[in-house]
């Protein structure tokens, strides 16, 4: 049987959701991946993935989907309070299903980085900041800044989709776009940047202060920060990616006021030029969760997945949806051993599926089943998949719909 090449598939390796991937397929197996980075290829190629789960499990033993769903529904019905964990590694349809399920059964949602999202949303509302799309970074930006963000490691093709792409008003690409990186370690992204600012001792606030006073016309003593201030002054459109280095709970708790200060700086800079901001989260559908939560806010309790152990009381149930909660938070190892029933929906074997009472493996989103996902800039994309869904498997959204019907 000949090899079939499928073009323009979507990669769910990270939040960039590259949609220019080509995949060679023969007899339902993926042979080669073209145009994806190493991270994406590892996700798409079968040899690169973690051990996969092919059939449902109940109490560690193989079961039919029907039996496993019935057992999951029985556990959910008997619970006083259910905590649903995850959401950043599933399709938009599944996220909507999670929100519906949480509303219907009065469950709480444990979302990765939730407290960061919350602070960010509050600050953005307060300061009236605009996000930008990748299209604007390609077509309009002449200064692209990565602040505490390291896409070369975490979303490897982001630089080609922004800095190196030639755009409508930036036709010579990198030649007319300046790349600046501010970080507290010499990241690979900083390696080839035009302006590199290595922040001492996590003193991001110091850099922000110097930049603010520089833009206000005062003298900036550090020559590199001064270069960045000059680049800001002469730029027409600056796109600022803000990354995990300053968007994590430890940093935000340790540096209260920094985020507000940064957003105030962006707003003030906008008086003379256009400056837009985009937070960078790398889980492939982190942006999808943000959007769903923004529209459903207030309907249920939401907290950070790291706080899960303190939210689970005896007799409660955890529904881990595409999330390896046992590995994610140290306290959860004890939780796994404590006998709190866990229902895990995951296609790969993890410490969480090992500890789960019921395991429901969905087909792999973006490879075996489609749906939609939200790219890091808020654009929703259809997931085009190289393989057909194997007989007898269900997508994450279908599993949720079944649970919703039965719970």
């Amino acid at each position: 049987m000949s090899v079939e090449t499928k073009n323009r598939m979507t990669c769910t390796g990270c939040a960039l959701l590259c949609d220019d991937i080509s995949v060679d397929v023969q007899l339902g197996k993926i042979l080669a991946v073209h145009n994806a980075c190493l991270r994406g290829s590892k996700k798409i190629l079968p040899s690169g993935a973690k051990p996969l789960l092919n059939a449902p499990l109940v109490g560690g033993k193989g079961a039919s989907f029907d039996d496993a769903l019935a057992e999951a529904a029985r556990i959910l019905k008997g619970a006083r309070k259910v905590v649903i964990a995850g959401g950043t590694h599933v399709t938009n349809e599944a996220i909507a299903g999670l929100v519906n399920l949480a509303t219907k059964i009065g469950a709480s949602l444990a979302v990765p980085d939730f407290d960061v999202h919350q602070q960010l949303t509050t600050s953005i509302k307060k300061n009236g900041i605009e996000f930008f799309t990748l299209g604007e970074a390609v077509n309009n930006a002449d200064l692209i800044v990565f602040w505490a963000a390291n896409p070369v490691d975490l979303a490897p093709k982001l630089l080609v989709r922004t800095v190196f792409a030639r755009g409508r008003y930036r036709q010579s690409g990198k030649e007319v776009k300046k790349l600046a990186v501010i970080d507290d370690y010499p990241s690979p992204t900083m390696e080839r940047a035009d302006i590199k600012i290595l922040v001492d001792d996590q003193n991001h606030a110091g850099v922000l202060d110097s930049m603010s006073s520089g833009l206000a016309g005062q003298k900036v003593s550090d020559p590199l920060t001064n270069d960045l201030v000059e680049a800001f002054k002469t730029s027409e459109y600056c796109t600022l990616f803000v990354g995990e280095g300053i968007l994590n709970r430890q940093f935000l708790h340790g540096h209260p006021g920094f985020l507000d200060g940064l957003l105030r700086f962006v707003r003030a800079s906008n008086e003379k030029r256009r400056v837009a901001l985009l937070p960078l989260f790398y889980s492939w559908n982190a942006a999808g969760v943000l959007h769903e939560l923004a529209s459903a806010a207030g309907n249920f309790e939401c907290f950070d997945v790291l706080d899960l152990p303190s939210h689970v009381e005896d007799g409660d149930v955890i529904l881990a949806f595409g999330s390896d909660i046992v590995s994610k938070c140290a306290g959860n190892a004890a939780l796994a051993a404590s006998g709190v029933p866990v229902i895990a929906v995951d296609f790969k074997r993890t410490p969480t599926t090992d500890a789960a009472r019921v395991v429901l493996p969905p087909s792999i989103s973006g490879i075996e089943s489609g749906g939609t996902a939200t790219r890091l800039d808020g654009t929703s994309l259809v997931l085009r998949t190289p393989l057909q869904e194997p007989d007898g498997k269900k997508s994450d959204a279908e599993i949720l719909a079944e649970l919703l019907g039965r719970a």
């Binding site: 220019d20 980075c37 190493l38 290829s41 070369v152 080609v160 792409a165």
Partner: protein
């Protein structure tokens, strides 16, 4: 010698625009980089007062004369498939418009594409289209300059 451009070469020339070589100094600098002219084609540079600059020019142009191959060495172990070489290479967009917008071309790859990603690693496909290879040869180093993993090295 990474990143030598026509302006760097021009600075080493007498900059008198005397046209004894048949052209202006800046144009001569470009031709030197292409390998179509040699430093000795500029009579004033042979004068003793310019001996130092002549040496420097020879150091730049000598490797280009010998460059029958492009001299590109790929270290696949270091590459993580960020695709910067695919998009930054000035030749790739000539064969695939997608490269202009930062996306990679569909398969089968258009003939002439130099860099492409396969299983997460960069591969050289049509070395004969490289600007270092086809006459008039230029000392292009774009892929080497921008690779964040230092996975591309140009030996000449």
């Amino acid at each position: 010698m990474g990143g030598i451009n026509a302006l760097d070469v021009y600075k080493l020339l007498p900059k008198t625009n005397c046209k004894k070589c048949g052209m202006l100094c800046m144009q001569f600098a470009v031709e030197l980089l292409k390998g179509t002219k040699q430093p000795e084609d500029c009579p004033p540079i042979l004068e003793p007062k310019n001996a130092q600059n002549l040496e420097k020019l020879r150091a730049i142009t000598e490797p280009l004369k010998q460059a029958t191959e492009t001299g590109i060495v790929l270290n696949e172990d270091a590459c993580d498939g960020c695709g910067i070489c695919v998009i930054a290479c000035p030749v790739n967009p000539r064969f695939s418009l997608e490269c202009l917008s930062g996306k990679a071309p569909d398969l089968p790859l258009p003939k002439g594409i130099i860099y492409a990603l396969e299983d997460g690693k960069c591969k050289i496909k049509s070395i004969e289209e490289c600007r270092r290879y086809t006459p008039p040869r230029t000392n292009c180093r774009v892929c080497e300059i921008y690779c964040p993993r230092y996975a591309i090295e140009i030996k000449t």
